[in-house]
Amino acid sequence: MITLLSILDEAAFVEGYDVKSSELHGLSQRGGSVEAHVRFGKKVYSPMVSNGSANLIIALEALEGLRESARAGRQTKILINEYFLPFMGSIPREEIVKQLEESKKDYTLVQASKICKDKLQNEVVCTIYLLGYAVSKGILPLKKESVLQAIKNVVPQKYLELNTKAFELAYDN
């Protein structure tokens, strides 16, 4: 998720936007859910996205996407990776999908993990696939070139090809 965040920040920066982001590390990472906020525009101040004000929520797991949908405003689009990471006491897939349908929020389930696993033999880059999906569908107001440049600037050499492929893969759909 930090890679996704770094690329997003860099892409906005490359396009000349003022950008601020906020992330959580540490204990919050040991299997608990973690979130990162990105804000970019002509001038941004707070690094945190207020409840209801997000333009886009990207959820890397389905239950978390459902959970977060409560904080989606009328203008918020939600992209949810159709990926389920169950734990003791969690609810079944069908229930998650049912509640999403009932939520009346503007969400899309994207098979990012599955596609990345099938085409790239790597699930971790599903985050970058989701970024590609958002940019290719015009949900995220950034240019394709900006993101490709950002990937070059931010991602270590040995993972460059994989990340670029994952991003461009989203354009094939």
Partner: protein, 543 residues
């Protein structure tokens, strides 16, 4: 000059290097660890020295020695670290530094990655009389670190850079300079008059310190780190600092208000004349402050001193608990200005919570269930900080106390002396070296008999995989003495010691039963590599 998007902590590294820092010490934690880790990675190529110390006290002391020897230093720790090093911190204010020292302290409002307490470390400025700066953005992390070295060098005093999670782990554009050439070897020039705190000289030093602070306050009055922004004609003013400043501007925009803001970069000493001047022009003040109302109390006191008829608001409208946000500031501003504000109303979905849990393959998966199964009814489980904190959560639910590093043995000993119950204290290898040893000696010396289980997963894991004395490797990647926990326990007088792989469940069970049956202190070292570390080593080898 370069312009890049940087993480707050990375900006601090850049600033320290640009200021000529050549000695870095500290102990890892959230939100500070990137500083030590980052410095460790580039130390050799930059010609500087960086270490992970056994704890924050030894860390601060290492830098004190370096500073007295003429090297510029950077100390890094999370909030609770300042508690641990406070014993050396207070005298350091009296002796002063010889060459610049900045101490990074990372607070964690809302305890995203902290147990113990929601500590507001700013209080230490009052206790220690050490200047303290609060940056709001990564650019200020850079600028205020440089300013910190400027103040430190000018006044021969350490400077604390107090940062919170939302600033240390914020990313934004930073304009910065590259590294200045590192200093090379230092020289310790004897100066007991300045470096020793014997009485009655120590009393003289206090006087010198307070005089110094007077001069630093004058410096603060003129500093650009404290500035007034916004409509200076309005009758309601805001005083704020740190990330709260960013939330405040956002809130003002949301409400369509243009009010003057006094942004304080200095927490201590405060630019008192500037604050009084600001308050003189308004009828009402809102102090937008996260956690404790330190600023608000000082500001109220200054208003009284200057005989100002100004209404000071703060903790009457903003909580003492939890981090702030633009929305929370909107609510407070609405109260003070009479503007209407309705926040975004939503209902949390009633969904099962995903709590922290052990990683897949973690050696603790072998340890917790076995301990729980084997321990007799009424056994007290004294917990400690690190990955084994997770023992307190489902499905383990075996943690009867959790305080600070080393307290599992510390408190476990007390419970053992006070009762007839069995006590099992668990801690990790990092924690053992941090503060477990002195607690262990206390238990041996004062004749109690807890069973101590040290989970040696070959790394200080929870904080992001840092080196510790049990690994035989330093932060800079050099080989060093590999300290063995079982040998230290033996040297501390523990007679019942076993080292085993917890995956050998039979052996582990038998050992626990055997040791619990004894009325003597005993220690088991469960030695098995951290699953994430094992995976990464595999990947590194396999490519």
């Amino acid at each position: 000059m370069t312009k890049k998007v940087l993480l707050g902590n990375d900006a601090i590294i850049k600033a320290a290097l640009a200021s000529g820092v050549s000695f870095v010490s500290g102990y890892p934690g959230c939100p500070s660890a990137e500083i030590g880790d980052g410095m460790g990675r580039i130390a050799k190529e930059c010609g500087i020295y960086a270490e992970w110390s056994t704890n924050e006290k030894t860390g601060l002391e290492a830098s004190i020695g370096a500073s007295f020897s003429g090297l510029k230093t950077l100390v890094n720790m999370k909030s609770f670290g300042i508690n641990v090093c406070s014993d050396s911190l207070l005298p350091l204010a009296y002796t002063g530094t010889k060459v610049g020292m900045v101490i990074f302290v990372g607070d964690d409002p809302s305890c995203h990655s902290s147990a113990q307490s929601e500590q507001d470390s700013r209080g230490y400025a009052y206790l220690s009389h050490i200047p303290m700066l609060e940056p709001s953005t990564p650019q200020e992390c850079y600028d205020f670190t440089k300013l910190g070295y400027e103040i430190s060098e000018k006044f021969n005093i350490p400077v604390i850079l107090r940062v919170t999670t939302r600033v240390a782990h914020q990313r934004a554009e930073v304009v910065f300079e590259e590294q200045k050439k590192a200093q090379g070897k230092g020289v310790f020039v004897k100066n007991p008059h300045q470096f020793t705190t014997m009485p009655p000289r120590v009393m003289e030093m206090k006087k010198e310190l307070l005089e110094k602070l007077g001069k630093i306050m004058q410096f603060a009055e003129k500093s650009k780190a404290n500035q007034v922004i916004g409509n200076k004609k309005a009758k309601i003013g805001i005083i704020t600092s740190g990330v709260s400043y960013l939330h405040t501007i956002e809130a003002l925009e949301n409400l369509g208000l243009d009010l003057p803001i006094l942004k304080l970069g200095f927490f201590y000493p405060l630019p008192e004349a500037k604050i009084k001047g600001f308050m003189g022009g308004v009828r009402k003040v809102l102090v937008v402050e996260e956690l404790d109302g330190y600023l608000e109390k000082e500001i109220s006191s200054l208003a009284k001193e200057a005989n100002l008829k100004v209404e000071v608001n703060g903790k009457n409208l903003l909580s003492l608990i939890g981090e702030l946000s633009a929305e929370k500031v909107c609510v407070a501003l609405a109260e003070v200005t009479g503007k209407k504000f309705t926040g975004f109303k939503f209902k949390q979905l009633d969904l099962p919570k995903r709590t922290a849990r052990l990683c897949e393959g973690c050696p603790y998966w072998y340890v917790f269930p076995v301990l729980k199964r084997v321990a007799p009814e009424g056994t007290v489980f004294a917990g400690d900080i690190g990955c084994n904190m997770i023992a307190g959560l489902a499905p383990h639910n075996m943690q009867d106390t959790l305080f600070c590093m080393g307290a599992s043995i510390g408190i476990g000993h007390g419970i053992k002396k006070a009762t007839d119950q069995k006590v099992i204290a668990t801690m990790g290898d990092g924690t053992f070296f941090h503060s477990g040893i002195s607690a262990l000696i206390n238990a041996v010396y004062n004749k109690s008999s807890p069973l101590i289980v040290v989970l040696d997963n070959r790394i200080t894991a929870m904080t992001g995989h840092q080196q510790n004395p049990g690994m035989g490797k330093t932060l800079m990647g050099e080989n060093t003495e590999e300290l063995k926990i079982e040998e230290i326990a033996k040297a501390c007088g523990v007679k019942n010691i076993k080292v085993l792989d917890p995956a050998n469940v039979q052996e582990f069970e038998t050992t626990i039963k055997e040791f619990l049956a004894k009325d003597e202190i005993s220690l088991i070292v469960c030695k098995r590599i951290c699953a994430l570390l094992a995976r990464r080593s595999q990947q590194a080898k396999g490519g």
